[in-house]
Symmetry: C2
Subunit: 342 residues, 2 copies
């Protein structure tokens, strides 16, 4: 299972919303006042984004985007990663491009040249982080939303062991078409297709479509327990896990501080979360888990070892502000005695 027969140039190629994050501390009262559901991600338009930004505390900016974070994590492990996503020709687009390339990730999706003029500047995610380290996100997709099937580099995907698709792309129609094209290109080349469910509200909006897509096109699913519950409309974890395992070859379900569970047919592998001195900001935790897990699977590691790489990467990113590793995960893995080779 998950053995890739022919050598691939890249371990993971991700297709996602290219987004720069703005992270600010807030309290619960702020979320209430702004009518935000704690822990959720919602889409906002340019005016809503500007109004919320005005109200937010001072913060920090960092390249983000769920799948972008994941491939940056793969690069930080020393893995070979590529990314497909859309930015505009503006300052945030330069920041996104710099950061993902500086993480060692191949990225050459054409920029949306006239994006800023048409109101599609580089996507921005306003993230308010409460003292319990939980993030609540409002995303203005901008240029990210303009990803089209023609942006899918099928040769690149065909040369990647795993193509990783962001569930958030089920929202905008042209991007969802791009997403379908990417999955088709991967399978045509005999590669694996992974998808993350991304968010409980995404699952609620597109439940039937996601289930159909998983059954038809996905080999690997990543989800957290909330998203899993939403997908099968049950809070019974074991029942939902069994249903997921029945429709996909391999799945990894994260459970926050309780670690993660890998599902593979009848097999269940539970892996604990890595201990963290102080959790500061959970932004990117799931994305970094995916980085370690997918790299491990692409490299043919045992599922438990792949999952441990995920837990390690998640523990690094939740100990500081921002959604991407600030130290080399390759070094952390070595210090923790984790291998990256099968």
């Amino acid at each position: 299972m998950t053995q890739i027969s022919s050598p691939a140039r890249f371990d993971v190629c991700a297709v996602g919303n290219a987004i720069v994050d703005v992270l600010s501390p807030c309290d619960d009262a702020f979320l209430t006042a702004q009518s935000l559901v704690p822990g959720s991600m919602q889409l906002v338009d340019a005016d809503q984004s500007a109004a919320l930004y005005d109200a937010m505390a001072a913060g920090v900016e960092a390249s983000g985007g769920s799948a972008g974070n994941t491939v940056a994590g793969v690069g930080s492990f020393g893995g070979r990663a590529a990314y497909i996503g859309k930015v505009a020709e503006d300052t945030l687009g330069q920041v996104f491009t710099h950061d993902i390339r500086a993480a060692g990730v191949h990225f050459d999706t054409p920029v949306l040249a006239d994006g800023a003029e048409r109101g599609f500047g580089t996507g921005r995610c306003l993230i308010n982080v409460t003292p319990d380290a939980q993030r609540t996100m409002c995303t203005f997709l901008g240029a990210a939303n303009q990803l089209e099937p023609t942006d899918i580099d099928t040769a690149l995907i065909g040369d990647s062991a795993i193509v990783y698709l962001e569930g958030y792309l089920f929202d905008p129609a042209p991007a969802r078409a791009a997403f379908e094209a990417a999955a088709a290109a991967a399978h045509a080349a005999g590669r694996k297709v992974a998808i993350t469910l991304s968010d409980t509200f995404v699952v609620a909006r597109w439940r039937a479509e996601l289930l159909a897509f998983i059954k038809a096109s996905a080999d690997i699913v990543l989800a957290n327990e909330g998203e899993l519950a939403a997908l099968f409309e049950t809070d019974d974890f074991d029942a939902a896990a069994a249903q997921l395992a029945g429709i996909v070859e391999l799945a990894a379900v994260t459970r926050g501080a309780d670690g993660s569970v890998i599902l593979c047919g009848e097999e269940r592998v539970s892996v604990a979360a890595f201990p963290v001195d102080k959790v500061v900001d959970t932004t990117g935790a799931g994305d970094q888990y995916a980085a370690g897990f997918l790299l491990g699977v692409a490299r043919g590691l045992r599922l438990e070892d792949a999952s441990k790489l995920g837990s390690l990467a998640a523990s690094e990113v939740i100990a500081h502000w921002g959604p991407r590793p600030m130290v080399k995960l390759e070094v952390l893995a070595s210090q923790s005695g984790l291998t990256l080779q099968a």
Copy 2:
């Protein structure tokens, strides 16, 4: 000493280079390869800035600028602060303006409307942080450099207990003139003038001019021990401290992990650094020390208590990436039993 006779609307009004920081991790070999002196700040032009950014690791962006960081810290303590500095009409300028206002700081210096077109975008400081948490800075001043005497709001300065001037402004001539105008406005209103020496290389470049300015116009000097040594060209700390105490009413000299020493005439007050679990990034440590110290002085606290506020603020900012507090210093002060009222 340092009693302000008439009530002032603001505790501190700072005049500084309005800069957005880009912070990336690096190793010592990177600094060597880029011919950068560890721990220094140097000015670079737009092309040098772009070339260095291309070579830098993925990072985070955060509003910075030494004096800007300080007034953001004053605001975080619940103090009343104002800022004078120049940004362009671009994304980084919007970020700087948002963040400083979100910290509760009054900021209405006119933006440089045609800055971006003339090659004077908002200033950017590229900061490479080594694993020992030391920062090495390359600053493209851009719009910050275009601060002029007409930008100095003399009514605002006259209504501030202390005007705080950034030594970095000794570099660009028009900004230095603005700086002189600010000092004059403060004294005309019977207020105190504070200056930070900012950087050993600034001191080396402008030693005679800084000494003349301090003697003629400054009531309070902030420096670290390296800058103090450069100012008096001696590594004998006590001798240099005595010389500084001989030309200025009050001074605070920071000594990194060894805390700080306050100089006031013959009096010497030593205050320990606050313990920190793990030092991540020392960017902004001196700026936050200045925030606590100046607010304490403006409020008429005992020198030791003012210095403790400085140490507390510095301890918060060195424990995370970025130059400004990520939690309310007012809350930290309360938790540490430190008072903000005389």
